[in-house]
Amino acid sequence: MKVISIEALNRIKEKGLKKLFPDKLRIAVGFATCGIAAGGDKIFAEFEKIIEERGMQVYFTQVGCIGYCKEEPLVNVTLHGKPLVIFNQVNKEDVPKIIDGLLKDEILGEKAFCKIEKWDHVTGGEIFYGEGFSHITNYTEIPYFKHQKKIVLRNAGLINPEDIEEYVAVGGYFSLFKAVRELTPEEVINEVKQSGLRGRGGAGFPTGLKWELTKKEKSEVKYVICNADEGDPGAYMNRNEMESDPHMIIEGMTIGGYSIGATKGYIYVRAEYPLAIKRLKKAISDAKKYGFLGKNIFGTEFSFDISLVKGAGAFVCGEETALIASIEGRLGMPSPRPPFPSQEGLWGKPTNINNVETWSNIPVIIKKGSSWFSKIGAEKNSGTKVFSLVGKVKNIGLVEVSLGTPLRKIVYDIGGGGTKGKSIKAVQTGGPSGGCIPTRLFDTPVDYEHLKEIGSIMGSGGIVVMDEDTCMVNIAKYFTEFTQHESCGKCVPCREGLKEASQILSAITEGKGEEDNIKRLKEIGETIKVTSLCGLGQTAPNPVLTTIRYFENEYEDHIIRKECKAKVCKNLINFYIIPEKCVGCMACSEKCPVGAINGEVKLVHTIDQEKCIKCGTCEAVCPLEAIIRVSKQSKNISKTYSG
């Protein structure tokens, strides 16, 4: 069933559209890792059961994730001719209710989160889903969606990622057809160059230029690689891109292979992403069946194949030379550049490596053209970027915005601000090697240059929000411990420098800090940045250096006054039970893992500070918020509440 002509491709598109818009009801459960974690698999099973029990005529399927993690599990429903309706936070009990409504051609109002009347699938153009349901909010009115610009996530959460025909239905593989049948490799590269697309893995190197460098190398054998070794704590953009729309990556890589003259591609994906691996495998095998991969693609001379390589979980293998070493079966350690992978890459051959999200943009650029693409975003920063917005922010999820969007818009307009009425203190961008940016700099446009200017990086797109309850010294310690752990150990500044930094930060958070600590942290931070071999070391001191730059007062509190104002650092705080609030419910004393809480039923409880290990369990289980954290230094409160 190899597709050779545009007519055949259009026939598949028609088949796919019939699945997206069947004559009957279509129900699709959000089935990416985030949805499953929120219980999506149980919802799926429940729908399946009831549909079968009632013998309903339904096109029942799964989709990826539309990115609004806070509202998971999500279920999409399309009644023929009507808009697509998204149900949010669906639980098992909701399922029969939703189905009852649907059987009467109605939508259960209170569970319906929003509707989609039309959606721009970008490569497939704007697709009209249907009209009606005036009682349901349009997704464009939901603040979380309103300010986003979906290019990479053009199909995420709307198509079944395991169905190649649905991908073709929304414009998939038409860009590949155009590239190999209508454009020369040079024209493709030129288009990518003109688009201004820059590497989405973090460094922001111009993609077209990278391709051109690899193309220029004279070699019979060349490779392309997709870097899917996403490892930043709290970041999962690439995971969702692979789980929700794997074919866009394959299409992008194949176009890349065509233009630089490679016949083989590798996707290096971390083994901790089993669902992404499963879907990529399925996608590769389906693409081969349809002839989008394999010999003589679309009847041309061009042949291309893709294999998966599973990474064993080393963060440093996201660095391109270490990644290549890992594919070759060698130790995942970076090597000095030059030679660059474009000159001597995988098995010594010219190799082009791009991140998942970079590849995902390629079909769009080919379809819509470079001038369309370059108009989106900011100067020298064209296009969009997907961020995973996590931490102490109301709306957690994947957010795609035009580059150059101010941080404030992402955190407040899309993210909805802090949780529980707390005020936001800072955000950290760019993963464990990013910097912490204080609120006063929230008008900074998010692009490669501006983030660098204020001491942070774009990285692969993590945004961790921190509020007044976050201790910045503790945050610096956390990220430094992470990078220290993930350092490959090859070069001394990263290996030994991060260890020393980690030790100093630990001492400070334990109240054992000394006055010259800040000076020393700055000094070694600078040396690690300047003298490390690879990007991991060169950026690893960012959390320490930026927290000192913007929150030096917190360091001083810890070092001089032995006080953690955010009340996070265990050695510097005590837990106290406010006697006026305690009703003696015993919730805390039953849960205390070390038996440090004394008290009888209906009598005020007290905490034995000698025994307390400051795990915070009591605080979490107290139904009356009677347990508070107090600074060891604030003698008054200790006296008042020490019982």
């Binding site: 000095p336 993930e486 150990g489 070069c491 290996r495 490390s532």
Partner: protein, 266 residues
């Protein structure tokens, strides 16, 4: 010989082969740049970060390692700027903390101005490398890339990294060539010949049987090493391969005298 280029080191012009590491040029010209992980027979790997220089003209501008900096026309570097001194000092401090047992590190630290030494770490009495290893990786690479044996490797990651035989067990592939100890910049690797055995004390007490000289009866080199060498240099004269170096010299000089030919061993 490749194309010649002119580069400037500390304001003096030197000739270099195009693509030649600046560190190599500096060593040839007697310019002082400290380094620990550089070895002429191996590709520069930029691991020890000690051979820092400041690039004044050319790329990458600023601080970089001279072993990975390749000569091109117009390249201009300085080897002892305040920036270089500052970072080199901190790197040596890191080494002092990591390898408190190494005299070489102490010497370099003193030479390059590390005056204030933090209370140094205790040397772990169980460390088979005596607190001297700086993880430059030369031993691993010479064992792999030059000898083709792969008896030792990195174990673990980051500052938990160690170098030893797999699973800290006696190596079954080590040929006892001692190349690792020869290239080690901090003399961390202990190898000793005891009677008819060579004992790689640092490498999980791996042992290699020694060969006895057919002529004088002295134990001189591991059996496996001789076999390995014969595989590489099959021209090695069969007559002398079982002789110790002393006897070999005697026999060979007699042969040379007779044949008036020189034997060149690469």
């Amino acid at each position: 010989m490749g194309e010649l280029v002119k580069i400037k080191i500390n304001n003096n012009i030197y000739e270099a082969e195009k693509g030649e590491p600046v560190l190599k040029v500096a060593k040839r010209e007697g310019i002082d740049i400290p380094s620990l992980c550089y070895h002429e027979t191996l590709k520069p790997q930029g691991a020890c970060r000690l051979c820092l220089v400041e690039v004044i003209e050319g790329k990458p501008r600023g601080i970089t390692t001279s072993c990975t900096l390749l000569s091109v026309n117009g390249l201009e570097v300085m080897t002892d700027t305040p920036e270089v001194q500052k970072h080199r000092k901190i790197i040596l401090e890191f080494y002092l903390a990591q390898a408190p047992g190494s005299q070489e590190i102490k010497r370099l630290a003193e030479k390059y101005g590390v005056t204030e030494v933090k209370p140094s770490k205790e040397i772990d009495p169980n460390d088979p490398l005596g607190g001297k290893c700086i993880l430059c990786g030369l031993c691993v690479r010479v064992c792999d890339e030059i000898m083709g044996v792969n008896a030792i490797s990195y174990i673990g990651r980051g500052n938990y990294t160690k170098i030893n035989t797999p699973y800290f067990e006696k190596s079954e592939v080590c040929i006892g060539c001692k190349a690792c100890a020869d290239v080690c910049p901090t003399s961390a690797i202990q190898i000793e010949d005891i009677n008819d055995k060579r004992v790689m004390k640092s490498w999980s007490k791996t042992e290699a049987r020694l060969k006895r000289c057919e002529r004088c009866g002295k134990y001189f080199a591991p059996n496996l090493l001789i076999k390995h060498t014969c595989k590489i240099y099959d021209e090695l004269d069969k007559e002398v391969k079982n002789l110790c170096p002393d006897c070999r010299r005697k026999v060979l000089s007699k042969k040379v005298f007779i044949s008036k030919k020189r034997i060149i061993i690469k």
